[in-house]
Symmetry: D2
């Protein structure tokens, strides 16, 4: 941490800051500059609360220097983490695609879509049994019945599946049935849920919050890892911006930065970023090109009858095309280290 | 809902949209324009999923028209809702101020601050026992011990208190102790928690999510009301923008719009929006001037030693000044109907 | 500037950074920390381009410390600048209100509105002769004819006026007629125009760009001051955010921060921030309460017939009410130093 | 345009809106819904100002329906526009890359970089002679001398070049020397400059404003086309968001949407979006994968000595790698129609 003093701050006020730091066990080192003095705070373990210095006489600004995350950091573990789900690997240079409907609606719907995406080359199935919906009047998912359908689909197709968990109450149930547990955008900083996920035995897909800074997202993963579960897959799904031509704005530089800062794999969900079908294939191609470790895509055989997010679901034949494009692009960029 | 067809959409594709709507029980009415045809979807109950029409041949755009909320809407209930907490009223034209530290740290800390804010005129006390923190390594609150301290403070000062609930596990406990239950920014769309809040017997302060649209915020309140709890106080606390000179950007036009759209009271938390002490009093004054139904302010007698959010906490003597300013401004704007 | 080295950066790479800095005449001082070394760059005049260090071996991050502005800075000039326009003062603790239509449409329109706002207590008139419009097909202003009307209005009412300049071609003309020259949001970083404004003999109102950081806005003012014109009034008018319930989001903490960082007066335009009439009076009250040095408000006697921005223009009787509220609030907050 | 009336709006107020519309020559058609009446405004030429209806009794909301642009619209011209610069084509399915330094610094610097990028396969050179800089104290470009250097480079390498124009004063000069004239982000709504560009005989690269909505960007292009110059290349370069891990957030769905709405070619500048070198190649790959019609990339042989934007400039050997990756990806996605 660097404390920048006002121009003309007195020697006494500088000394006062130094003492405040040392009282807390830090080392404080004043650095005289041209116009003003700065004070470096050294040897701190964990983050130092800026508030402890902001109020002191003569202090102009407090600038944090070191990043507070540990277990998720590439400085902590240099080689890529590979997360395995059955035979599917995330983070080993392959390009696993998770595909399926937004919500499980019926056995027939699920199995129809699962067979279609499997045939096109998807590695995993997805489908919501518990659905977070903006309105209490919208379809909230089939619950346990949905999980049973997903299990049946797995048995029939051999595809492992990912499904979202919304609360601790239903966590045991979701953990029992699913192969990968998804924590959604709106729960990225539901810290109680993150702690529970940290005690789960299954891998976690952690979606980025709609307005999460990179550091907040990685700290959310840190919550999970700190409780003992190191099988975390990050998922970029678009951020909230002023833009209105897509539901959210896909932040692809986040993929690049996550891979620089962390050893965890990061996948992309172009469907939720786009919000409209036309953008999904182009954004999927871009996500693979930028270096994503996988994709999560919404597919529905009758999107105009889907109970949620129909507008962004691909038709099965579009998904086939996506798979072809994505595989070709990955064959080029997959072995490149940017 | 209005479905806008592409220029030159065929008669057949228009007919196809009409049929798709009618198959779902809606009334569809084509409206020929100069350049293109639009189709109004009428008599729908609840929201209509745009996805059901986006994929159809010839459709250019789907524009939602009616707002989906009901119970929170001023169209549903025209007069202001007044939420009572003991003798304190929100929404009746008074200006109740909730003040206290970010986190309860000790009996002594809490009682010292409570006495100071009571003396200055605060109507309620606040303090966190369960703290949502970005980092798992930061102070997470005293938990039940914190609630007991808050109860002691209430007994000693007579001030009712608000405190945050983070999950369903601790909900019963928080509900038992507190006078008002706060749902924080990061949990605004934790729908399971909202539903539990809807079954609580205590009033709820629902903070706006950091990137929540007005409609999403009101729909979150709708979740609570729909489960049976109509005692909801909304709280604007700043939104995430590109700005870096404050932690968040206080969105005061949201206060005006909430009061137009809804009968629920809306208060403002200038401390979290600001993130730095210097901005808190000016933003508090602005919040009262814009028509807020109350304020929530962080105060600490030793902010440089606070265990969280010290940088934004007012000193007690600053809070006194805030109270004086705020009361004077409220005496002017409080009886005005803009 | 602070250069943060990666964990485990070699002694050689550190020495390399030090040499790179010293080759450019700076002083570089390595600061060993717990985990990593940082290097302070001292005695630099002007800003140091981060790019010069980002590419060097072992460098993790480059953090700018000092702000690059000079003439606009309160560190450069401590007392408030007072900008005079005839008898009207900005920055001396008074609360001058500039009011008028978005665009001058006719002599009759202008004079009608000017008389109404003067009667209500406005200190200055406003009206656009050259109009920046999103669409080339929208009304572009009356041009020179508009300036003549504004001059007539000034003669008849005694009100000085502000009007926008859009380019260097028309600058002489606008400067000749107007009392204050406005540079609009979309031109905040039109550096050629800023330089011309710096050679003007009239005060400049510099509106904040729609997505301008505080520092960019102050640097735009620095362009004007650096060319010799120190009569700059800053104007906050809302920023672009994800919000849809107002045209822009009024950033009132910017007022507080500008006054801390700079000696220049700062006023607020609530009309453009709101975009809808209902929000204008509340936001005007909030702007005065937060410590603004004045307001700029759109008024039209027949807003439903206005040739631009009718939706946000107040009726004259609403403006009267605004004046009353604003004056009362200013009597409370005007003499407070937050 | 659709005017939504409040619940319970009287027959009289509905009639009043209809009359107001008809007085202006529009056709107004009331559409009764379940809860409320909406009124469609038809047969309007050009956009209808919402303000004309917002203030009327009983009006709840005014929703624009048709897009206001004409000449840029794909509804106006269905086939892709191909813009030619010498032998280089934008919009015909090829993948031209424009590369070079941010600013021209010297003949030697320019020629060194030009030769390197030509060798790697760049189709055009870029370099700034007039530089828009946030600070008046930063390097402002070599001006006319810079243009002469660019012309020399063209002669020596055969590469046509693009360079930015900042104002009307220097427009003739820039037009005389350059092959393509660039209008920068900060000038996207400098309408006077756009009109001058509309009278130019050279193609224009129109960069997207940092917070421009798609519609505003296309309307800026409309300004140029409306004055007679139909050779417009749009350039996405990142938008301002809350994100801090990149300078701006590259909005790749804008590429998809521009191509849907308009016949104009759209290229991407990953360098300015990234702001840091590490992200440039991945974002360039993503831009090609999403369907861009070309790229604009910053390259410098000694970025640590560059006079501006060194941090985001690629080394020549990195640019070579970019060219290889980009060409391979384009060979896959270039012939796909998403």
């Amino acid at each position: 941490m660097l404390i920048v003093m006002k121009k003309g701050a007195t020697e006494e006020s500088i000394q006062n800051v130094v003492e405040a730091a040392e009282k807390r066990g830090y080392t404080a080192r004043p650095i005289p500059g041209g116009d003003r003095v700065s004070i470096g705070i050294l040897y701190n373990k964990g983050s130092v609360d800026a508030g402890r210095f902001m109020g002191l006489e003569g202090v102009k600004e407090v600038i944090p220097v070191t990043k507070p995350y540990k277990l998720v950091s590439r400085e902590f573990k240099n080689e890529n983490s590979v997360i395995k789900v059955g035979n599917v690997c995330f983070g080993n240079g392959s390009m696993p695609i998770i595909a399926g409907p937004c919500a499980v609606e019926s056995q027939e719907q699920a199995i129809t879509i699962a067979k279609a995406v499997k045939k096109a080359g998807a590695a995993m199935f997805r489908g919501g049994a518990f659905k977070p919906r903006t309105s209490p009047y919208d379809f909230q998912g089939l619950g346990k019945k949905g999980l049973e359908i997903l299990a049946n689909v797995r048995e029939e197709t051999g595809l492992p599946f990912a499904t979202e968990v919304m609360d601790i109450e239903s966590f045991d149930l979701v953990e029992e049935y699913s192969d990968v547990i998804q924590i959604g955008t709106r729960n990225m900083q539901n810290f109680s849920l993150l702690k529970r996920a940290g005690r789960a035995k299954k891998p976690i897909i952690l979606k980025r919050g709609m307005s999460a800074m990179l550091q907040e997202w990685l700290m959310a993963a840190e919550y999970i890892m700190e409780e003992g579960n190191s099988q975390v897959i990050l998922c970029e799904r678009g951020i909230r911006t002023f833009v209105r031509h897509s539901r959210n704005t896909l932040d692809l530089s986040a993929v690049t930065e996550v891979k620089k800062e962390s050893h965890l794999p990061v996948i992309v969900d172009p469907s939720h970023a786009a919000g409209v079908r036309d953008q999904v294939i182009p954004l999927a191609c871009a996500s693979v090109a930028v270096g994503s470790d996988g994709l999560m895509v919404e597919v529905h055989h009758k999107p105009e009858e889907a109970m949620s997010d129909g507008a962004q679901s691909l038709y099965p034949e579009q998904f086939e095309k996506l798979m072809q494009m994505v595989n070709k692009i990955h064959s080029i960029t997959g072995c490149a280290s940017f």
